[in-house]
């Protein structure tokens, strides 16, 4: 049952300022959250912000403590440390568990879109890439990040230190922002140039083991992009907007009624551009599973890949 034949419309950026603002609501929301997290860290470290007498958010994205009571920790970092066969204090494990639980519910890679400071860098690189119509220098399969993830854990055991934490550009960046310490700018520049001129969506899409880790966690995400197959005209605008190469498949989405892949960062870029608003963020439970189609969907050809313009 192919999509009903309806005139195919494309997304037009509204003229009015309010309209444009509305169109970019998710992008702005994400930037706001990213900024808020960093400002909270910075304010606690430099201006002594307190809540109920306790430091508001002491630490950084690797590990922190909220209001002097709630421990938070980057589960991937904790995992690596465990691989170094070093016994960790309870607080770090508890913090990792808390963060893991939160993202398990929200969606693993929500971290990538909504919290990770590198996201702004890679988005900027993507914007530059589009402007300059840069072609890929080489292509590597997106699955490499899972290899890097495995490698990080292996190396943690071998080298005896949290392998990725010691070279992670993300860690360098947020440490630089919060404490002004380290190669933050160089890592930022490195990823930006790599994404802009070497490989489209290079770092987040192909190499970052942290993203891979969150993708694995993200499989059970409770917040998903719901897909209303009926209203979709297959115009392909969403595919162009989506940063992740292999997340949006109309058939699978139609079948599951939502974007099921763990690699979806819930960045809602597709939702914003869908002319038919057939995509929206929703709780997994609230998404009705569409009736299973009577026959295998007619092979109407592979959905147009995110065409490289």
């Amino acid at each position: 049952m192919s999509a009903p034949a309806r005139p195919v419309r494309h997304f037009e950026m509204p003229g009015t300022f309010a309209g444009r603002l509305h169109a970019r609501r998710y992008l702005l929301a994400r930037r706001l959250v990213q900024a808020l997290v960093l400002v909270a860290f910075f304010g606690t470290a430099h201006w002594g912000w307190k809540v109920a007498g306790q430091p508001l958010l002491a630490g950084n994205l690797s590990a922190a403590k909220f209001a002097g009571a709630v421990p938070l920790a980057d589960p991937f970092a904790v995992l690596q440390v465990l691989f170094t066969r070093h016994a960790l204090a309870g607080e770090a494990l508890l913090g990792a568990a808390i963060v893991l639980a939160v993202y398990f519910l929200l969606g693993g890679r929500v971290f990538c879109a909504w919290v990770c400071p590198m996201n702004a860098v890679t988005d900027a690189a993507r914007w530059v890439r589009l402007r300059l119509a840069v072609r890929d220098v080489f292509a590597i399969p997106p699955g490499v990040r899972y290899a890097v993830l495995g490698l990080a854990l292996v190396l943690s055991a071998v080298a005896g230190v949290a392998a990725f934490e010691w070279v992670s550009p993300i860690a360098m960046l947020h440490r630089e922002i919060v404490y002004g310490a380290g190669l933050g700018l160089t890592s930022l520049a490195g990823v930006f140039l790599f994404d802009a001129f070497v490989l489209r969506h290079g770092w987040c899409g192909h190499l970052c083991p942290l993203g891979a880790f969150w993708a694995v966690v993200g499989r059970g995400a409770q917040v998903r992009v719901a897909f209303d197959d009926a209203s979709c005209t297959r115009c392909g605008d969403c595919l162009k907007a989506c940063p992740e190469p292999r997340v949006l498949h109309f058939n699978e989405a139609a079948r599951a009624g939502m974007v099921a892949s763990g690699e979806c960062t819930n960045c809602a870029a597709c939702v914003a551009v869908c002319p038919e608003s057939s995509l929206r963020l929703a709780l997994r439970a609230a998404i009705p599973t569409p009736p299973t189609p009577t026959s295998a969907p007619a092979a109407t050809g592979t959905p147009t890949e995110g065409t490289t313009p």
């Binding site: 630490g59 690797s62 590990a63 421990p71 904790v78 080298a159 230190v161 392998a163 440490r175 310490a181």
Partner: protein
């Protein structure tokens, strides 16, 4: 191509992937090991684990930096040779003030800093070492600033007066005692010479070790060896010479070899 070709292509891809991962891994590992071992001595916060364990446990979250009331701690910037982003302090600029409640260790989530440490004076961040050639007191001037600013003065640093020999003055010589020195760096910061004549260094770099087999009896801590009441367990008798090979007692070979000079 058929099935074999497909599989062969797949195998080639797999091998290619593994090779790429391996060489990436090797490079990455070299970088890590180099970073970890290259560290010259870094002054860690009080209660820090041994350097290797510390490097493993620390996730560089900066909680200790925020918790330090004196702004002593900072995350290591690039190109200082100290592993990037790990908390440390520079004694000459801002030493550790040995807070009795040890806020930094309490703030550490991963246990890289020992949260259970009760007595700040038990921390061994480093060891003060005095350069006798440039120390004003060693040269006879009446300085002794390090002795006075030391929070464990009289225990970590004591003053031993010596006759000066060159004139009828005494020289008031500061001496560091490693069993008490916490390595807080207050002396290094206060030392009035242009370049500090007392430095906090890695103990293992400078400390010798008198062998276990000898005790300095005039020193108080030499364990007083009274005659233990019951005789020490008799040493195991030397194994009797293996029977059946007469004449192979120790020393025989030497005695019977060659003609006497």
């Amino acid at each position: 191509m058929g099935q074999g070709g497909e599989r062969r292509k797949f195998l080639a891809h797999a091998v290619q992937g593994v090779a790429a991962a391996a060489c990436g891994g090797v490079a990455w590992n070299a970088l890590l090991v180099q970073q970890v071992h290259a560290v010259p001595f870094a002054l860690r916060p009080p209660g820090a684990l041994a350097e290797r364990d510390f490097a493993a446990a620390c996730v560089k979250c900066g909680a200790c930096v925020v918790a330090c009331p004196y702004g002593t701690l900072r995350l290591a910037p690039a190109a200082t040779g100290i592993p990037l982003g790990t908390p440390h302090f520079v004694a000459r600029e801002e030493p550790c003030r040995l807070c009795p409640d040890i806020p930094c260790a309490k703030a550490c989530p991963t246990g890289a800093l020992d949260r259970e440490m009760k007595d700040i004076n038990a921390s061994r961040m480093g060891l003060a070492v005095i350069d006798a050639e440039n120390c004003l007191s060693w040269n006879g001037l009446r300085c002794e600033v390090c002795y006075r600013v030391c929070p464990l003065s009289g225990k970590a640093i004591t003053i031993d007066p010596h006759p000066r020999k060159l004139s009828k003055h005494a020289v008031f010589v500061p001496v560091v005692h490693s069993e008490a020195c916490t390595g807080c760096g207050l002396c290094e910061r206060a030392c009035p010479t242009a370049v500090a004549s007392v430095r906090i260094v890695q103990p293992s770099l400078v400390q010798g070790h008198v062998g276990e087999h000898f005790r300095m009896s005039w020193k108080p801590e030499a364990a007083p060896v009274e005659a233990s009441p019951e005789p020490p367990p008799s040493a195991p008798k030397p194994a009797p010479a293996p029977p059946g090979k007469p004449g192979n007692a120790p020393g025989l070979d030497y005695f019977n070899s060659g003609s006497p000079p």
